[in-house]
Symmetry: C2
Subunit: 203 residues, 2 copies
Amino acid sequence: MTTVPDKERLLAQVGFAVEIDKLKRVLRRNMLMDGSRRENDAEHSWYLGMLAMVLGEHAPPGTDLDRVTAMLLVHDIVEIDAGDTFIYDLTAVEVQEKAERAAADRIFGLLPEDQTLALRALWEEFEARKTPEARFAKALDRLAPMMANHHNEGGSWVRHGVTADQVMEKVEIIREGSPALGDYATEIIELSVARGHLARSRA
Amino acid sequence: MTTVPDKERLLAQVGFAVEIDKLKRVLRRNMLMDGSRRENDAEHSWYLGMLAMVLGEHAPPGTDLDRVTAMLLVHDIVEIDAGDTFIYDLTAVEVQEKAERAAADRIFGLLPEDQTLALRALWEEFEARKTPEARFAKALDRLAPMMANHHNEGGSWVRHGVTADQVMEKVEIIREGSPALGDYATEIIELSVARGHLARSRA
């Protein structure tokens, strides 16, 4: 048998890795862009990491894009325990927060302590939206489903009766992270309303 | 209508983003750790990004882990056109290389030219395995399915009749990127053989 340095650390890291495989089975409300099935949290997190890489120039100057990427890879892991919440369901959002904190304790707690603290800090930074990195990361998280709905004839907007007024509130979150992407999101909404894929307001 | 700076750049970036959504539909040979379904390339890429974060200390000192992460997020995008190849199918691997180069031309070519070059360079660095970053990234790419098979009673090893001799060749690739993870992979193989989840050699 071979010997591995820091064997206990490595086994804790592997235990965490085995646990987070479950994120691939947490389903979101929105569909893939081709409408074939619902998206899961793991592939969504990859997609946001790619958006950070490709749209990074639209973040404010000086934004640490590597930390944005790290935050995006980590941001949904708590949903392994707490599940996904549809962002237009306000009651659920409050209950969700408590469940997510408990999930963060349990799941990040599987890691060696220094890494527990580091990943938890990334997740809390994302949730608090106080740094440019967190605001840009959240902007991408809000933009991605808009892009998917836009390319999928309204997608989850149509299925759940979401209106342009409601989506515009989310655009403000995008604009706080990136004015240019806020403008782009506004254009998406106008186009979706014009094409009949998004109702302007509740009739 | 609002105006977006660098509108043409942004639209090229969005075109690329829409295209790479397809990576969520490219299926790999291995299953999720719970054995419920095959893994797709997008969630696999997220998983490797997380492994880079959590196992990064097992890379050689001085390895740029942010570049490792970027490489891992990008490394399978060419499979949107070229499909996934099972690493134990040697004939397919050669044909695959040509298809992947054509895919890289087409897909990375959707981006503004500076980004086309940057993402293509990341992908080529990964494939060439000459830098510590690429060797560590490739090690994680080889380790992840071993972990999944180990936690899934042999998984794709059993289904495709793969033997310990064949897997050990892949362990050398892991060891080149990280001696500690090479040792760990060796342990996984020994355990899997002992449990009857992996045949020692072709009977």
